[in-house]
Structures are given as C-alpha cells and as structure tokens.
C-alpha cells in the first residue's frame, strides 16, 4: 500500500490517497479484526487456561515440597516465588527473565532477584513502554505470594530485589537436614540415565586420557544415583574391529595350543606392538590378519575363543585400575552392538537417508558438513555405525530419558553428528530426551604440553596411580603423620589422599578446559585441593568427639534444639550448608562437577570462619575442663560434616577418621 501511495502521489488523486492512508491506519490498529463473536468465548477460555496453568504449577510445587525427605532447593523456591510474582505483576509477558542468585555481600541480603532490568528491556522492545527497573521491582515486590522463606524484601540500586531469608525457616531446614540426613533435591519422577564413560580399547593400555572419562563419569553416575535416578553405567569398550585380526593371527603363531592351554600373555601392550609391527611389515601376515577378521565376524568358535582370551587379559588390567579408583561399571563394548549394525544400515536405507559414494554408504545429516559412513566399500562397519547402533539401543531398548557420553572434546563433531542423525531418523525428540556429550579437555603435563613420560611415551595409568601413592606417603611422612597414626591408619590416609587428590584435581577443574596434571599442586594441603578438604573434614568430625558428644547425643539434640543463627558467621554457615541442593541441581543441569568442588571449598572456608569466631566448646583455660558445650553450634558442625561427606561421596573421595 505504501508503495502504491508513493506512486499515487505523482498522479494526483487526493481522495484515493486519503482513503488509503485511512486504510493503513485501520490495518495498523487491527481494525480489520473487529470484535468477532467468538472472541469473548476465547478470552474466557484463555482466562480459564491461565488459571489452570497457575494452579497446576502451584500443585507441582506443593507435591515437590511434600516429598518431605528431599532437601529444599532455596534458590528454586525463590525462583518459583518470584516467577509467580512476576506473572501476577505482568501477566502479559511471555517467558519473562527469572534471575535469582545468592547475594555476594550480606548487605545485599541473602539472595537477589535481578529480573527487573530484563523486564524493562522487554517492555521497551515488545510494548514500547518505558518503565524504570525500580518501578518494576516495586511492582514485583508487591505481588510476592505468601511463602515460608522470605523475611523481607528490599529494593536496591537500579532495581535489584534483595531477599532476606527467614531465620526460623533456615533453622528448620537445618534441623530437618540433621534428622533426615543429606537428601537430594526433589527432581520429580524417577528417570533412567545411561552414562557412557571410561571406554578404553582392548589390548591397549589405559592412559591418562581415559582417566578423565573414568573419574568424571563415575562422579556423574554417583550424583544421578543420589538424586534418585535409575543409572546404567556403561563401559563402551573398543572390543571389536580390524585390530583383532592381527592380534589373533599373532596369537596363533605364538601360542599354537591357545585353545587348550591358556596363553600367558603378561604384557598385552608389548604383544600388541609386536603384532602391529608384523602387520605393517609382513605382507603374508597382513593377509592372514584380514582372514582372521572375517572368521571372527562369522563367529567361528575358535576365533571367538581367541578373541575372548585377548579381551580377558585386557579386562583384568582395567579392573585393577577400577579397583584403585573405586569405579563401578558394566561392560558393553562395541561387539555387543555388532549384530544390530546390519539393521541400522537397513533402517537408514529404508528411510532414504543413504547415499552411495565410491562404494561407501554414507548419510548426510543436515547442519553437519561431514557425512557419516555407515558401511565401508568392503562391507565392513565403522565407528559411525556402532555408535549409531549404541545410540539406538540406549534410547529404544534401555529407554533412557537422559543419555550422557563422557568422551573427550575431540569427538565432539562426531558425536553431535551421530546425535543429529538419531533425531533425524526419529529415535528421539530432544525436547523429551536429553542426549548430551559431556566433553572434556586433554590432560597436560606441567610443561603445558601433552602429558607424556620423559621418554615421550604415553603415561600408563597404572604407573601414574602408583606414583600418586608414593607421593602421598612422602607427604604424610613430611608432616610426620607416621608418628601419630597407626600403620593401618597411615595406609588408609595414603590411599585416601593419593586417589582422592587425583580425582579431585580432575573434577575441580572445569571439564571443558585442558588441565595440567601436577602432583605437587594436588597434594598441597592449602587451597582448593582434596588434601585440604580431607584435613578440614577430619577436624570438624573431631570437634564433637573431643567434647565427648557421641552420635546419639547429637541426634537427640537435633530433634530438640533449635539452631540459633544469631551470630553473623552462624547465619553465613547455615545458609551455605543449605545451598547444597541448589548446587546439585545446577550440576544435574549442566553436568559441570567442578561447581561441587568449588562449593565444598567454600563450605570448608565458611566453616573455618565460623569456627574461628564462635566457640563450640568452652574450656577452662587452666584445667582444660569443658565448661560449656554450645550444642546448636555442634549441630552446625555436624550439618557441615554431613554435607561435606555427601559431597565427597559424590566425588568418589573416601575421607578417613584420622589423618
């Protein structure tokens, strides 16, 4: 119309211009819509739907808080409260920003809601309304629904809403924590989680790269299990493929009677290297190796036997490491999916996704430049095929609601392509099922280069762990702990510190980054290390013991005493303890475990502040006799310790009674 108007202005037909201008105005004001008779009905229905939605949300909150045993996630409680307030204040806003964070300074209250600023932007953009964030903050504050946790609300600065929690509420949560133990935040229906982690290759040594997957994967499983999920821990072993041809051929040469006498393969790595050398140099051997692959894949019993023998050797080696690190998982290697791959190829072909390129069958996935090769020109399958088969099995057979691959970042494009292919073919809907690649960076040496031995070889994991043990013992001796602890205690402290430190050093770094492996740093008992936390933990545990308060007395006190949080440091510690569920919730969402390490470190330092300022047990200076036991403070110690213990448990760290 406007174009037409412009053309009209040259040929003067004033009336037409006027008419059209009026028409534009009318259209701009939705004049064309008029008031349809069904509009009223739709408005009513809309009001009812809104009412019902609000009701269901409230009921959901009610149901969640009813599962009495779960710990209350204060942050999400506040989010719900502010969500409701914003909804009431601005019912027309769709998905208004909802930002609630713990306050950094006591003067800003305990938590802050910073949504007002965002809403200002939205009102300006979508409704062309200029409203100051402060005004919005005030309106939100006026609409805060009745709740049990907020003491008061202040509006500060441009429009921050500072929240002060109610003391009795925090105190009550701490009491219930002491009575019920540490409980997970409520996460709703029990869902199935499949975690693919560790996943080394048969006949190859586990190296430091596998260490990260193993440690992160184990910890993730523990977290999901604690949160009440049904977790399937899968070790996606590299136990199938062409390398088995040369291994079996070599086995037949070296141990011809392998079918009757178990061959003593001591060093599988050396065995692998030998066969690899022959494969690369002996043409005849190479040919035989290929034949072996074909026979193995056709399930010839003799070849299956050989394959199993080799796998068993590897398995035993892996298990040693898993035992050291206290790792539990189910072996379900590539071979498990072998039979399914034929059907996978057929499924992609039937749905018309397959292209043939130079004899290969390839699948292009929209958004990914490199296609998946699902069948090689010789009819063999690839990693792409086995990963697709594994994905389908986990989704359709295991019926996973959440599927997590703890695999290094280098595999990112490959995995994303596989996931996208799974969606393309309709195995899952990302809105319903969560398939995530929990990627991690590489392990670097202290020289910031790839972690290698001095001779340039990859570092064998088992050697690394042994060195850890040795270093931990050195440290303990340095500190003359050997003079205080019994031999048994010393040994327990050694393994706890050694493996705890290796795990913690890995977990405390953002997994997405590369990380520098340094025994010196991880064994330092100052700073954010396992050594520091383990030490702090034993100290907290000792407080009650030294006051001759046993577990039963603590339990009784937890039931009867009100936790007084009058001292600033008590208040700070109490709130810090109760942030545990929100930390876990965050990790369940983003799978970044270092948040838990940061939290434990913060908890330990907050505890130290409290302990330095608040007497738990008052003793006579001369006699050393106990004058007074401040029971509520001992309860705070106990609450701190139980949360730390649960944190350690999730991280896979075993604290000791004494160290």
């Amino acid at each position: 119309l406007e174009l037409y108007l412009r053309s009209c202005s040259s040929s003067p037909s004033e009336n037409e211009i006027k008419l059209l201008t009026a028409e534009i105005e009318r259209l701009k004001n939705f004049g064309c819509l008029g008031v349809s008779p069904s509009l009223e009905g739709l408005r009513d229905e809309n009001a009812k739907l809104k009412y019902r939605l609000n009701f269901l949300q409230k009921s959901l909150q009610e149901e969640r808080s009813k599962t009495a045993k779960s710990m209350i996630n204060i942050n999400s409680c506040l989010q719900e409260i502010f969500g409701a307030a914003i909804q009431a204040a601005y019912p027309d806003l769709e998905n208004p920003p909802l930002v609630v964070t713990p306050s950094q300074q006591p003067k800003f209250g305990d938590y802050q809601c910073n949504s007002a600023m965002g809403i200002t932007q939205i009102l300006l953009k979508t409704k062309e309304q200029k409203v100051s964030p402060r005004e919005i903050a005030e309106k939100i504050s006026k609409n805060i629904p009745a709740n049990e946790c907020i003491e008061k609300i202040e509006i500060a600065g441009p429009g921050f809403i500072n929240v002060h929690l109610r003391k009795d509420f925090v105190s009550k949560q701490l009491s219930s924590l002491l009575m019920n133990g540490v409980q997970p935040p409520a996460v709703g229906k029990r869902k199935k989680v499949v975690v693919d982690f560790s996943s080394p290759n048969i006949a190859k040594e586990m190296h430091v790269g596998h260490l990260r997957s193993t440690i992160i994967g184990e910890s993730m499983c523990r977290l999901f299990e604690f949160a009440g999920y049904d977790v399937l821990r899968l070790n996606h072993l590299g136990d199938w493929g062409t390398q088995f041809g040369m291994l079996i051929a070599h086995l037949q040469d070296k141990f011809p009677d392998y079918l009757t006498v178990s061959p003593p393969i001591g060093d599988l790595q050396a065995f692998y290297k030998e066969s690899k050398r022959r494969f690369d140099t002996e043409e005849e051997f190479k040919k035989r190796a290929y034949q072996c692959v074909v026979l193995l894949q056709s399930k010839n019993p003799d070849f299956i036997k050989a394959w199993e023998l080799i796998c068993d050797v590897s398995r035993k080696e892996f298990q040693k490491i898993y035992n050291c690190l206290d790792i539990t998982l189910i072996e379900r290697g590539e071979s498990f999916y072998h039979e399914m791959m034929k059907d996978i190829v057929k499924e992609f072909e039937d749905k018309g996704f397959v292209q043939v390129d130079d004899g290969r069958k390839i699948v292009f996935v929209p958004g990914f430049p490199v296609p998946l090769t699902i069948m090689k020109s010789d009819g063999g399958y690839t990693y792409d095929t086995s990963d697709l088969a594994a994905l389908k099995h986990r989704l359709c057979e295991e019926k996973a609601d959440i599927l997590i691959y703890v695999v290094d970042s280098g595999q990112s494009v490959h995995l994303q392509t596989v996931f996208a292919a799974g969606q393309m073919i309709g195995w899952y809907d990302p809105k319903v099922t969560r398939v995530a690649h929990a990627a991690f960076g590489v392990v670097l040496g202290e020289d910031k280069k790839k972690f290698k031995t001095r001779s340039g070889d990859t570092v064998r994991l088992i050697d690394l762990l042994e060195e850890g043990l040795k270093r931990a013992m050195d440290k303990l001796r340095d500190k003359e702990r050997d003079k205080v602890l019994t031999a048994e205690e010393l040994k327990a402290a050694q393994t706890s510190v050694a493996f705890g430190c290796i795990k913690y050093a890995d977990l405390s770094h953002n997994r997405l980054n590369d990380y520098v492996f340094s025994f010196d740093k991880m064994l330092d008992d100052r700073g954010n290390t396992a050594a520091y936390l383990l030490y702090a933990f034993t100290r907290i545990r000792a407080i009650a013991r030294l006051a001759s308060i046993d577990e039963q007395m603590l339990r009784k006190a937890a039931r009867e005493e009100v936790l007084i949080l009058d001292h600033e440091k008590e208040w700070k510690l109490g709130k810090c303890i109760l942030r545990f569920p929100e930390i876990l919730q965050k990790i369940l969402d983003d799978l970044l475990l270092h948040t838990l390490c940061d939290y434990l470190y913060e908890l330990a330092t907050t505890f130290t502040e409290f302990y330095d300022n608040c007497y738990c047990v008052e003793k006579d200076r001369q006699s050393g006799q106990i004058v007074k036991v401040n029971m509520w403070r001992l309860l705070l110690c106990e609450a701190t310790a139980t949360v730390m213990a649960k944190g350690f448990d999730i991280l896979g760290i075993k604290p000791v009674q004494r160290m």
Partner: protein, 552 residues
C-alpha cells in the same frame, strides 16, 4: 401454619420435630450445640451474592430476622458465595444495605466461602466413610429424568481420595470429574454433586481453589457450622430436605431443622435477574432500581417505606402455600405507613395561572399549613400566598355540569389552607382559544359563602420534575406464555412512566433529601428521587392517595 409448626422457638429440641432423623450421635451433638448457643434461636438469611434483592427476598429477610427477633434469638447474614463465576463486590454491599434498610442488623455477616477449608476436610471424610465418590459422567449424561447411574459409584475409597486430590490440584478439566454423594433425593434424583471443577478465581478466596462446593453440599453444612436452629427456606427446597439431614448425619455433625415456607410472588412484574437485565438492556426500564421494578432498591427509590414492606410480608404470612399477591395489597400497606409518615405539601402538575385582582395585602402573605392535618400537634409549615397562584388546569371549567364542584364562572372554590375563596372575574385565552390565565377576586372564607369544594394551589413555587408510574406490565403473569404468548417484553405497558417536567411544588419541600416523602394534597404520596439536583428537584409518585377503583 408454620408458626405453630416451628413450635417452641427454643433451640436444641430439633429431635422433637417430625421427620427429623435421630442417629446414635444426635443427642450428644445437640447437647454440644446447646453449650454453644445456650438454647438461643439462630436463623440465617442466605442470599447468593449474584444479583439484586427483590420483594421475594424481603419475605426471607423478614421471616428469618423477624422470627429470631420475636424469639430473642439471632440471625446471620450469610452470603452463599459458592459459585465463583457470578460474584461481584457490588452485590455484597447492596445486599447488606438492603437488609439494613429493612431495619435489621445481622448478628454476624458470614460467607459460605469462609468455610471452604472445613467443607473440603469434610468432603475427604465423606469419601473415607464411603459416602461420596469421584465421578466422570458428563453433565449432559446426568441431566434430565432417569439418568443412568454412575459407573464409578463403587470405585474404591482410596481411588476416590486420590482423584479428589487430583481435582483439587487442577489435574482435571472442567466437567471431567465431580464429587458425588451417595444418596437418592425425594424427587428420585440420584447422587447429587458435591464438588465440581471451575477454573475461576473466587471473589474472596482468590486463586486458592479450583474446585467449588455445590448448594446441596454447602448449605446444610454451613448451617451446621453456624449452629443454626431453624433453617428456613422456600418450598422448592422441600425435595432437598432429606439430603440436608442425610449429609449432616453422614458426617456426624450437628443437624439443624429445615423448615419450608411458600415463596412470595407478585403479579404484574418479573423478578428474575436475567429478565431484569433484558429490561434494562432494551431500555424498558432505566436501571435495576427503576421504580417500576420490584427489586428492593427500586421500591426504596419509589418511596416505599421499609416498614410497609415488612408489614406486607408479615401479613402474607409464612404458610407453606405459595403466595401470589396483587401489587395493590403492598400499596395499601404503603399508604398506611405513609399516611403516618409523609408530611403534607401542595403541588400542581398541570398549572393554570390565577391572578387575584383584589389581593388584600401589598406584599405576600404567609399561610400556615399543618404537617399532618389529622394531628396538628405534629406542627405546621409556612407557604407564601401572593396575588399570583397556580391551580390545576383540571380544577377549572368554563361549563359546569352536575357533580362538578370546583372552580367555574359563577362557582367559587376555596383555596386549601389559605382561608380564601376565589371567584372567576375574567378568563384570558390565547389565540387558539385555550385558557391561559384567570383573573379572580378573593373573599376571606369566614365571610364568604361556604364553597362546594377546596382545591390545592401553589404560589411562588419551585419548578420540579415529577415522575408518575403505572404498572410495567399489562398482564398479571407476564412470564406465562399462555397469558402472554409474545414473551414478557411484548407485554410492556406503554404508559408505565409519565414524566411531568415542570410541575410546581410549594417551597416547603426545598430542603428535602433523596427518599424524603411527602403527601401532595389530592395527588398522592411522593418521594424525592436521587436524580434531584440543586435547583431541580425530582419526585417519584410512590402511590396515589386512594386505590384506583379500576385496579381493585
């Protein structure tokens, strides 16, 4: 007679009433009831706050409040606000205002919604006792005669408890589930609904609930909670008496006695909310309080005194029979009261100017008029008397016929209260021959021959608007299709309102406030309308002085 049936007028003797169900718990519950009420009679007026009260409600108010008062008891005003969709603040305040206007003070103002929590707890208990269940039959399925019994009637208690909880949490859409009570009513209706889902906020409970109790479930339990002794209701509820007793007993709570009385209906009008809305929408009446309607606000505006309405209700009585009354019976009550209450004044609706040529004074005289001629001890007011006065056009005729006693050439007439008789001297006409003014001479009445009649007049008057009303409908039962086939809107009386824009009223009414009442001599009883403004008063004619013989 209900009054006799209601008997003792003492609380706690419910069990003596015929038809009252005595359970093993009854005596204990009554004993407890007596400790709370001390044997006092307790009644309640329970309107739904979804419309304006009308003359029918006046009877309920009169009966409930009146019965309590007569027996030294108390009466609650309880808003039956169980249905969230229709309630508006204005109805609550209007109802209270009308109760107070009728001269009653509620013992307490309560709301059915005050008891939602208790009602909900009881609903759970009723399910646990196996007396209620969640049903998924659609509304259409259970409507009408002989609907099929619910296939969910015998579902396990646990299941009903869970589903009822789901109803409360909003998991069912409207109409997808109801809670029903296991009982058959007098009229054969099975398993009345106790709770239904409504995604509507409530006037008082906000967004706390999405299930709301029904009348059948709520009413008797609220009566029980308030320890009502006599639950008075109109006859339509007779069919629900057994469910009333059943529910209280099913929950083992104190059970009041329900008494029914006949509804009061008035001829020549409609009182239903929906119909009044139609009348307002079509412009047949001005608003809910248009004086032609029989809502209580309309009656007040028209000038009906509350005492008259109470007298009327008392006279209709509380027989069980439905009372259908002629409006003139109500009007008779109004006259009775106004005769006592409304001071006299004079007004001329169709003025004719009269100039007294031999006025006996240089300036205006003052005339004393008794406020109530029958009882001069109730005072006098002054009105000016000037050479120019106005009389009703109809009080003058050029030709005299037999029976005509007022002013005519050669036939003098007395001026009420003035103490003068006037005689026509000269008739002034306009070009069309219409009489526009009279010139008269006056004679003091004590010296003049006694005239055949006295007429009212005004001098130095106020110009006012006067609204005269007739029945709104032509037929007795405008809603009856056999009487009025075209529907009530086709039965409107075209002459139901006549507005006299320039009536002249004597200055004694000058300081009157809205709803003040006067008897304008020879014209009827009038009430100041709230439309009155500074310098322009508006009067409604409440009733004429005598019943129109045509209406009797």
């Amino acid at each position: 007679k209900v009054r006799r049936r209601l008997g003792t007028g003492v609380g706690g003797e419910n069990y003596k009433t015929e038809g009252y169900v005595v359970t093993p718990n009854t005596m204990a519950l009554l004993k407890h009831h007596l400790t709370i009420t001390g044997g006092q009679v307790r009644t309640r007026f329970p309107p739904e706050p979804n419309g304006i009260l009308h003359i029918g409600h006046a009877k309920a108010i009169n009966f409930n409040f009146g019965y309590a008062k007569a027996n030294g008891g108390v009466c609650f005003l309880r808003y039956d606000d169980t249905n969230p969709e229709k309630e508006e603040e204005k109805y609550f305040t209007a109802i209270r205002e009308m109760v107070e206007w009728l001269g009653y003070q509620p013992y307490a103002v309560t709301h059915a919604s005050d008891y939602f929590d208790q009602l909900y707890t009881w609903a759970l208990e009723l399910i646990r006792r196996g007396q209620a269940y969640v049903c998924h039959q659609k509304v259409e399925e259970i409507k009408g005669h002989n609907p099929p019994p619910s296939p969910w009637r015998d579902r396990p208690v646990e299941e009903s408890l869970l589903l009822f909880e789901d109803m409360r949490k909003g998991k069912f859409g409207e109409g997808e589930a109801t809670l029903r009570m296991k009982l058959v009513m007098e009229d054969g209706k099975m398993d009345p609904v106790a709770y239904r889902v409504k995604f509507t906020p409530h006037h008082r409970t906000g967004d706390k609930w999405c299930i709301y109790p029904t009348y059948d479930y709520t009413h008797c339990l609220c009566d029980s909670i308030e320890h009502i002794t006599h639950s008075l209701c109109t006859k339509e509820f007779q069919a629900r008496r057994s469910s009333y007793f059943w529910l209280c007993n099913a929950l083992d709570v104190y059970c009041p006695v329900q008494w029914e009385y006949g509804r009061l209906n008035l001829l020549y009008t409609v009182v239903s909310k929906r119909k009044i809305i139609r009348l307002v929408e079509t412009g047949a009446v001005r608003d809910w309080d248009d004086p032609r309607l029989f809502t209580l606000t309309a009656l007040r505006r028209r000038g009906f005194p509350p005492e008259a309405i109470n007298n009327f209700c008392a006279r209709v009585g509380v027989t069980v029979a439905q009372a259908t009354m002629e409006p003139h019976l109500l009007e008779a009550c109004v006259r009775e009261v106004l005769n006592e209450q409304a001071p006299r004044a004079m007004a001329v609706l169709e003025p004719l100017k009269v100039t007294i040529t031999n006025f006996p004074a240089l300036k205006a005289l003052e005339v004393l008029v008794p406020n109530f001629p029958a009882d001069e001890s109730r005072g006098f007011h002054k009105v000016p008397f000037q050479p120019t006065v106005y009389i009703e056009e109809t009080d003058f005729r050029e030709e005299v016929d037999k029976g005509y006693k007022r002013l005519a050439p050669g036939q003098p007439v007395g001026l009420r209260h003035a103490g003068y008789v006037i005689a026509v001297q000269n008739i002034i006409k306009d070009a069309s021959g219409r009489v526009i003014e009279l010139e008269v001479t006056c004679t003091k009445s004590d010296v003049a021959e006694k005239p055949k009649a006295f007429i009212h007049w005004v001098s130095e008057p106020l110009v006012c608007e006067v609204r005269l009303y007739e029945r709104l409908f032509l037929h007795k039962n405008p809603e009856d299709p056999s009487e009025v086939p075209g529907g009530f809107l086709s039965d409107l009386n075209p002459d139901s309102l006549r507005v006299v824009r320039s009536a002249l009223v004597d200055s004694s009414v000058l300081s009157a406030r809205p709803f003040d009442k006067f008897q304008f001599e020879r014209l009827g009883y009038f009430s100041v309308d709230p439309d009155s403004e500074e310098g322009k008063m508006v009067f409604n004619r409440t009733v004429t002085l005598k019943e129109d013989p045509g209406k009797a």
